[in-house]
Amino acid sequence: MIPLREIAFARSGDKGDSANVAVFARTPADYAWLREQLTGARVEDYFRPLGVGAVVRYEVPNLAALNFVLPHILGGGGSRSLRIDAQGKTLGMALLELPIDAPKK
């Protein structure tokens, strides 16, 4: 297993109480691998400790990216959340720590 960050980069942002994390493959071959490995269910499972709702995954092949929308993951979001990360700034970095199987050579 390798951390996702070895084959991808990412960015997260907030919308109200929801957040998105976009994950970008570093190579075209790795995009195919990510599409297979990094399912919405897997991301939902990973973020469950933060109380995430049903994760939606969008494929963005022209950017070799997957965009995950994570509902209700911010403990109320913006002004309301008591968390140190009320705006999901850390979620991209967190997802890049996910252990996944290394792509087959």
Binding site: R5, F9, A10, R11, G13, D14, K15, G16, D17, S18, N20, A22, F24, Y46, F47, P49, L50, Y58, V60, P61, N62, L63, A65, N67, V69, P71, G77, G78, S79, R80, L82, R83, I84, D85, T90, L91, G92, M93, A94, L96, E97
Partner: protein, 452 residues
């Protein structure tokens, strides 16, 4: 074939680098437009509080300082025009303050305009049943009497009309962030309001630059490789008549504009990339391409658009209690165990004297608390230091004030090795609930006027 329109962003949020605008036009005097974005989701509620104390303070006063900082540029013949949402709740007052600066600087030839019509608070107060929450579908009725602000995200049309009428500085309230960029494109290229593909391209350009340095290497995954982080450049979009653009930054600035920085920013705060909703067009990001054409120059082309949604999105806020966060640093063996015990003791004592909170939290920073339960490399027992962060929220002010006074005594009643208490008592903040909803276009009347 006209040359590309150069639109730079000089402010990504209320509190961004105040000298960015002056530095941008000094580095590249051929910039046609500066856009400055001051309004996050709940910024208007902060302006509402400011205005309650001082009726003249319902806008981002920082922008007046930006105008002052550009006086030498305009004196030396500089031409860059400005489009900004710094007007907040009161674009007229913002324009008045800017006008005074320009008059005092003997620059009366610069024309100011305001865009209004975004304030829809009366509509929400009159008919709360019609404005269900876009995220939760909840009814607005139970919170309608606590509404503070309600503003529709206006589009680019009124900005473009003000520019066509000769405005040099256009000050708006709430508009969609990319519309600050689309407005100048409509005015400059003469696009029709149904030129959706071109508008889509300009919307993408606006989206890319609206967060300032974030597209030039700021916030990037590989930030350790970003050059000269002390001076990350603010972005410039060079937009062509077909709506495509090149994203770049001024020469001799730090940061980088690469395929990676542009791709990261393209999907920042995006939901469905096939349906990016703006009041000017519904945009698909799925058709666009990104190409590094030179060092620090990335071309973005091929975005496609179609008609915008039939209603405007509204961002409303309502009063929803109070909160405070307190922090102390705990050093020594079993630091995390001690921090949790101290945090629990603090909350226990407050409960014992009758304080009622609707929510509390104890976080130990350094343990992976930002995403607690997900990613941590080191076991808590191995940490020799942690920052204890305790937070409370309540419906009323009083128990939160009690909390703010109860933190410091942990220095003498808590474990040995507590420090980091010199910053004083935590501040009590009002909580503003965020209420996104939709309003029919017919209920909103965007307007603009030149300000004498």
């Amino acid at each position: 074939m006209s040359r590309p329109l150069k639109i730079a962003n000089a402010c990504a949020f209320w509190g961004d680098q105040p000298d960015a605008a002056a530095r941008l036009v000094a580095a590249d005097p051929s910039i046609d437009f500066l856009t400055l974005d001051y309004l996050a989701e709940v910024s208007l509620s902060i302006m509402a509080i400011q205005r309650a104390k001082d009726p003249a303070a319902g806008y981002a006063r920082d922008f007046v300082d930006v105008v002052r900082s550009l006086v030498p540029f305009y004196h030396s013949g500089g031409k860059a025009k400005i489009v900004t949402n710094a007007g907040g709740l009161d674009p007229g007052a913002c324009a008045h303050a800017c006008g005074e600066v320009l008059r005092a600087a003997k620059l009366p030839q610069l024309k100011l305009a305001v865009v209004t019509g975004d304030d829809v608070l009366p509509a929400l107060q009159d008919q709360p049943a019609a404005f269900a929450n876009l995220e939760t579908a909840a009814s607005l009725v139970p919170v309608a009497d606590r509404l503070v602000t309600a503003n529709a995200y206006l589009g680019a049309a009124a900005i473009a009309e003000a520019l066509r009428a000769g405005a040099d500085i256009v000050i708006t309230g709430r508009v969609a962030d990319p519309s600050l960029t689309v407005g100048p494109c409509l005015a400059h290229f003469g696009w029709d309001s149904t030129d959706y593909d071109r508008i889509a391209g300009a919307t993408v350009a606006g989206h890319l630059i609206e967060c300032g340095t974030q597209v030039c290497g700021g916030f990037s995954t590989d930030w350790l490789e970003v050059p000269t982080p002390s001076d990350v450049g603010f972005p410039i979009a060079e937009i062509s008549a077909d709506g495509s653009c090149v994203i770049t930054k001024p020469a001799r600035t730090g940061g980088a504009v690469t395929m990676q920085t542009v791709k990261e920013q393209l999907l920042y705060e995006i939901g469905d990339p096939g349906n990016y909703l703006s009041p000017d067009a519904t945009v698909s990001f799925l058709t666009l391409s990104v190409d590094q054409v030179a060092e620090n120059r990335v071309r973005v082309f091929g975005a496609t658009g179609r008609a915008p949604p039939s209603g405007y999105k509204v961002s409303a806020t309502y009063r929803d209690g109070f909160k405070a966060h307190g922090q102390l640093t705990i050093f020594g063996h079993d630091a995390v165990k001690k921090a949790r015990r101290a945090g629990n003791a603090l909350l226990h004592r407050l409960h014992a004297v009758g304080c009622v909170y609707r929510e509390t939290s104890i976080e130990c920073l350094g343990t992976g608390a930002s995403v607690r339960g997900i990613a941590s490399r080191v076991s808590e027992a191995q940490l020799i230091e942690t920052v204890l962060r305790v937070s409370v929220a309540a419906d009323t002010n009083e128990p939160v004030e009690r909390f703010a006074r109860a933190i410091a005594p942990l220095v003498t009643s808590g474990p040995q090795g507590v420090t980091g208490y010199a910053t004083g008592r935590p501040k009590v903040f009002p909580i503003f609930g965020y209420w996104p909803c939709l309003i029919e276009r017919a209920q909103v009347k965007p307007a603009w006027r030149l300000v004498a």
